[in-house]
């Protein structure tokens, strides 16, 4: 009896751990990028929220709680807020002016939910009069509080054994996906596995979560002695289909999903007999069910394990319905790069290639289309460079006044087209030039805002519904990148957070995270996963090494509590962390407010370059700037700082992430990978608190990096150091003036002699 009770208790614990999304209601704001409350105006308005659901769970029940407030001018009998799930109308909530505020609970039936994205539609039809109504009257509004409105879903994990195809579901950013994973290696595992394979696994799994954080912890899988009857509830006892062939024989510390990595020889003692037989190459295996899963990354040799981990980041899950797969190598390029990850200078891309297929906008109202332009993080060009849009678009007949298409890049208006041809028209290669300066490094948003309006009709209360209105943007439209190349100024934590640069995509043969001991390996892997998400591509040669070396080569990150840091790491830089901290005065003052180059005005930049900037917020402090040494504690703060690596032969940044102690540091890394902190990284020194307040500032001397383009590098260096150019100009001026003076004096003398 006691054993049965313990068994049930263990089951509940495991399921609870596997389904965090079901633990508490989720605010609707999580499913939209729109800040603040949702305001539904006009006579008709619709908002679609897309709720992702992991393919490895099914929704058994869901309750939508809507907090709304409507205009007091509405007609109760004709105003209604509808809720639809995947096009099925589930509720019609009357909008009563007598009771303008309310909360509605709507049950979203399980049978309407499906794996992947589910469309949750909130739609209002509202009127303030029965005749001759202005459909855009200001009285027509209903507001929904997206923070207080929640979705409370009950999820049921799938019972079928997991396969590789289920990895996307297990690590889905939607409902039912896990946001934490435990990575285990065998006792006395080969260092190559822990140092090089686990980072690849971390990236592969993090990329499956898109931009949602993945918390990674590590450990050593200690084999448990085999007993006929387990003394405590264990997974194999719960889920094992064959009691004599348990799924795993080691402690997973309550983790619902874990990874087991190692060579076949290392893992054999941990797995059922014969489980790894016949594996002769890089191998992946997935097992488990019911929300508890294991991913095995293995191979006969450590290199095979690394290859398996790397291939985990390359495979398409949907094409692998089996539980096991062994990789036999890559044909073609040794390291294929995902197509379209970053746009190349002077290359042209159709919208279809950029992920925006042809789109038809129908009916009266506002429509939109967004094309994401992923500009390389180190893209650099001259100011006058031009990008080019060649649009293939058209619109149908019968457009009325107010029918327009506005085009915006990163929220900045760049072009407008009035849709005013009575019979409609179509354009091919409609050319728009964009200054390259409008492009940001990283993802850019090209937005087409289309407003379709019917023609005016004459007569009392006459109206045209506008259902005939139609416009199209073709996927064959093209965006051409301006000419340019790869060059940038480092360190730049903003660039790092947006793209992972320079640790990914910077042309580095390999990047390394140094940690003082194994306790921080999970944090390092969490960070690597986040960097891969920022870059949207895995770094191919990450290493996580224990022990902080006396000299840190190349492009590296040091992740260590302050007590493990020495001042030598920081070289001559004005910031140092350790037993005694060193802070530059300007940065101490500047911590009050973030400051970056982008935020600075042109005048400010000119003043900076002239060395005339006075306030510390804008002017980078010199490397040898006066600094304040202080002995104390960082308290709960996390600190991230990047500077020129004093030991690197080529100009490369060294990033140090630290906190007061290891536990605090691990917690701060978790905070760091959260969007609220990660998105605020800027400058070269960032400090954040457990409350996710971020202070970022630029305090170090810049270093200049350009890949294979000395001309661009020269431009970059001179652009940041015009005084060097002026010095050379001064020297040339002296040379010319002295030489010419001598020659002119000679000629004048000769002329005088002739007289």
């Amino acid at each position: 009896m006691t054993r049965v009770l313990a068994l049930l208790l263990g089951l509940v614990t495991l399921v609870a751990a596997a389904l965090p999304a079901a633990a508490e209601p989720l605010p609707l704001s999580r499913f939209t990028a729109q800040p603040g409350p949702l305001r539904l105006t006009d006579a008709e308005k619709t908002l679609d929220l897309f709720v992702p659901v992991a393919s490895t769970v099914s929704v058994t029940d869901a309750i939508l709680s809507l907090d709304y407030l409507n205009s007091r001018a509405l007609l109760a009998e004709r105003s209604v807020l509808s809720v639809r799930l995947n096009e099925a109308t589930l509720a019609q909530i009357p909008l009563d002016p007598a009771q303008p505020q309310g909360t509605a609970r709507v049950r979203l039936p399980a049978d309407l939910w499906r794996a992947g994205f589910n469309r949750l539609t909130l739609s209002v039809v509202q009127h303030y009069t029965d005749r001759c109504e202005d459909p855009e009257a200001p009285e027509l509004w209903t507001e929904i509080d997206l923070v207080d409105s929640t979705l409370d879903a009950t999820l049921d994990p799938q019972d079928d054994p997991y396969r590789i195809a289920d990895l996307s579901g297990l690590f889905s950013p939607g409902l039912g996906g896990t946001d934490a994973v435990l990575m285990l290696t065998a006792p006395a595992a080969d260092p190559a596995v822990t140092e090089r394979a686990l980072p690849q696994v971390a990236q592969a799994l993090a990329l499956r979560r898109d931009y949602a954080p993945l918390s990674i912890s590590t450990g050593t899988a200690q084999p448990r002695p085999q007993t006929a009857e387990p003394a405590a509830p264990s997974p194999e006892a719960v889920f094992g289909e064959q009691p004599d062939q348990p799924l795993w024989r080691y402690d997973v510390d309550g983790a619902a999903v874990h990874v087991l990595a190692g060579t076949t020889a290392e893992l054999a003692p941990l797995l059922a007999d014969g489980r790894l037989d016949g594996i002769d190459g890089p191998h992946l295996a997935v097992d488990g069910s019911g929300g508890v899963a294991r991913l095995i990354v293995t191979g006969p040799t450590p290199d095979d394990v690394i290859a398996a981990a790397r291939d985990l980041g390359r495979i398409q899950d949907v094409l692998n319905p089996a539980a096991d797969v062994t990789f036999r190598g890559i044909e073609g390029a040794a390291e294929p790069v995902a197509p379209g990850v970053r746009l190349k200078p002077e290359a042209a891309y159709t919208f279809s290639v950029l992920g925006a297929d042809s789109r038809t906008f129908s009916g009266m109202g506002s429509h939109g289309m967004i094309v994401t332009l992923p500009v390389p993080p180190d893209f650099y060009t001259y100011e006058g460079a031009q990008a080019e849009l060649l649009l293939d678009f058209g619109y149908g007949a019968g457009m009325g006044p107010g029918s327009i298409m506005n085009i915006m890049l990163n929220g900045e208006f760049i072009h407008g087209v009035v849709l005013n041809q009575p019979n409609g028209t179509a354009f091919r290669d409609y050319r728009i030039s964009l200054p390259a300066s409008l492009l940001q490094r990283g993802d850019n948003t090209l937005e087409f805002a289309v407003s379709l309006r019917p023609p005016l009709s004459v007569g009392e209360c006459a109206s045209v519904k506008g259902r005939h209105l139609m416009a199209q943007m073709q996927g064959s439209s093209t965006f051409r990148m301006p000419e340019g190349g790869s060059a940038t100024v480092l360190p730049d934590l903003g660039l790092f957070s947006a793209s992972g640069y320079p640790y990914v995509g910077g042309g580095e043969p390999g990047s390394t995270i140094y940690i003082p001991d194994e306790g921080l390996r999970g944090s390092a892997l969490t960070l690597i996963g986040k960097i891969a998400q920022a870059a949207n591509v895995p770094g191919t040669a990450w290493r996580v090494e224990t022990g902080i070396p006396e000299t840190v080569p190349g492009c590296a990150i040091v992740l260590a509590p302050a007590s493990d840091l020495t001042s030598e790491i920081f070289g001559p830089w004005s910031v140092a962390l350790g037993k005694v901290d060193r802070w530059p005065y300007p940065s101490l003052q500047a911590l009050r407010q973030a400051s970056t180059d982008d935020a600075r005005s042109v005048a400010r930049r000119v003043m900076d370059l002239l060395g005339l900037a006075r306030d510390a917020e804008a002017a980078p402090a010199a490397a040898a700037a006066p600094s304040l040494r202080q002995e104390g504690s960082l308290g709960p703060l996390g600190v991230m700082t990047a500077f020129a690596n004093p030991w690197s032969e080529t100009p490369r940044p060294l990033t140090v992430i630290s906190a007061d102690d290891a536990a605090t540091l691990a917690a701060r890394v978790e905070d760091l990978t959260a969007p609220a902190v990660w998105g605020q990284l800027q400058g070269d020194l960032a400090v954040w608190t457990p409350e996710e307040d971020v202070h970022a500032v630029t305090v170090s001397e810049p270093i200049f990096v350009a890949e294979d383009d000395p001309w661009l590098l020269l431009r970059l260096v001179l652009s940041n150091n015009p005084m060097w150019w002026l010095g050379a100009a001064g020297a040339v001026l002296v040379l010319i003036v002295v030489s010419a003076s001598v020659l002119l004096r000679r000629r004048a003398k000769r002329l005088a002699e002739e007289e």
């Binding site: 001259y382 100011e383 006058g384 460079a385 031009q386 208006f413 760049i414 072009h415 050319r431 030039s433 200054p435 300066s437 042109v602 930049r605 000119v606 370059l609 002239l610 001309w711 020269l714 431009r715 001179l718 652009s719 940041n720 150091n721 015009p722 005084m723 150019w725 002026l726 050379a728 100009a729 040339v732 001026l733 040379l735 010319i736 003036v737 002295v738 030489s739 010419a740 003076s741 001598v742 020659l743 002119l744 004096r745 000679r746 000629r747 004048a748 002329l751 002739e754 007289e755």
Partner: protein, 737 residues
Amino acid sequence: MTFARRSLPVAGLVLGLATLLALAALPMDSAAQMVAAVVLLGGLWIAVSPTDDEHHHTARLIFIVIGVLISLRYLFWRGSYTLYAADWISLISVYTLFIAELYSFAIHALGTFVNVRPLDRPDLSMRAEPADVPRPSVDVMVPSYNEEPELLEITLRAARQMRYEGKVTVCLLDDGGTDQKVNDPDPAKAAAALERRHELMALAERLGCRYITRARNEHAKAGNLNHALTVTDSDLVVILDADHVPTLDFLDRTVPWLARHPDVFLVQTPHFMINPDPIDRNLLQSFSRMPAENDMFYMTIQRGLDFWSASFFCGSAAVIRRKHLEEVGGLAGESITEDAEAALEMHSRGYRSVYLDEPMVAGLAPESFTGFVVQRMRWAQGMTQILLLKRPFMRPGLTWYQRVGYMSSVLFWLFPFARIIFLTAPLAYLIFGLEVYNASVMEILAYTVPHVIATYMVSTALFGRTRWPLISEVYEIMQCLFSLLAVLKVFARPRAPSFVVTPKGETLDDTFISPLSRPFYVLFWLAMLGFAGGVWRMTEYPLSRELTLVVLLWNIFNFITILAALGALLERRQRRAAPRMPVREQGELLLPDSGRMPVDITDLSAGGVRVRLPGDWTAPAVGATATLSAPAPALGRRVELPLVVRSVSGRAVGAAFDLSTERAADDAVAYVFGDRARWQYFQDRRLRKMPVSASLKLFFTLMGAPVRQHVRLGFAGALRATRARLAIVFATKDVAS
């Protein structure tokens, strides 16, 4: 060691210039470029400040190098990053504008090179030359075609009175009374030519000059002079245009250079104009306050050319060695600027020229805009002919710096191409939307504005004393439309142009709009249309709003110059043929009844004088006779000139010279025109720099009047035309009835 000492500066200069080019090409972002430009402009400003006296040679070099560096950076940037377009028409426009900019920079660079160290020649005098230095004989040749005898008499009298210890023969070369003219098929023309011949023969005989004419009018002025060379035999030849009156010491100061140096073929002196040109007279009205239009050439550029042994003959006011002239076959050549062409030929043979920057010949500028245009079209055509037919850039015998000097002088005359492009480029954008200039405002601030400022500062430092800001623009715009056509004709048929005599000494009875105004009206309305297009673009194309603003500013600048041009096209009434020169001298008025009255002489002309009486003297009556007694330093004595009072206005008395005796006529000419110091004083008084703000202010004050007067005169003209039509209609009805 000597070789090393000689070569080191050359090597340093070559290395420095090569590095300068490399520095100019190095890329920088706009913010950094702006920093560099600000610092360079600061250095330029410091270097420019002490250069007013032209003798800070090092400072001149510094600002020239800095200016060139700023401009080169601009051109490298323009050439590297801005020359693209979406369509062919725009691309052609883009490149056309860039070529115009390259041309302008080339002219600017050539100008700075030429004027890097203007040469000041020392004062020499034949009287100070040792007795054993030979005094070469001189023929003073005054070619004439259609000038009035009164005008010629002044020149001949002055030439006859020139002080010189050697033999001087003054020759009147009459091309208006040639056998060809006298035997013209048109009896009226033939009679007029014969009458002119007799009249001028009598004049020459009366003045003791030699009258020379010829059978046929071949090769215009050059042919006339060449014919005279065949019938005269002096060592030196002085050439004076009919209206060019020499000072008494002209030969004394010019001949020593030829007497001392047998390899000198030319001594050229400035053409000092005693009347304003039509643009000055019609628009600026600053003759006595502002440097004349040709001062920049004669007071700065020719001195610069002289440093490089490339000063050239300007057709008059010069002494030429006959031997050298005959060696090159005289003045006749392939171009209609035979003067510059002959100088080029003689320079090519290794002979030297000397330029003396002393006003020793007083002449007349064209009175009307038409005359002005005729003169400038001839210069433009002639210089273009030299470029195409003589090719100074590859002329054997010239040194490299002489080639540069000649190219600077010749290429300048292609300015109509660039000027018209600069006028129309903003319109191409504002009206037609052609993107002729692809740059952000930041780039314009970082590259274009410093280039414009640097060019302006360098130009002002080099030429500011002799040319005020914006004046060049007005003069060039006034000429460019007509000169462009003239130059294009030369490109089409290089040997086709023929010499056209510049009309001088015209009188204008009424104020009227020049018949050449029409193209400027078109430009005016195009500029207005440009403004409308600019406003439309500002509202319709927000992405290019900043660029539109910049182009609008450019159009405003063009508009101001067009307005100024319209002002200059209002030909003001000019009834007095003999121009008055303002002076500040003392004299005495001898009145038959009142004794000797001390007076201030306020202006002088060939025909008379204006004096201001002291307060306690009674003004003489109109028609009264008097005698002006005044010191004449050039003559070394006082002159006593009989007068007839013509006008009295308060204390001001205007009187005409009574030139009934030869002595009086000689003294009047010698007194009025013979004193070099008076011209020098007048010229020096006008030489000063004008800040651009003051120049702009001057232009703004002049802007309103042209429009009003054009409207008024245009309306009056239309009214007159309507009246005339109505009169015809009524007259026709009367006849019919």
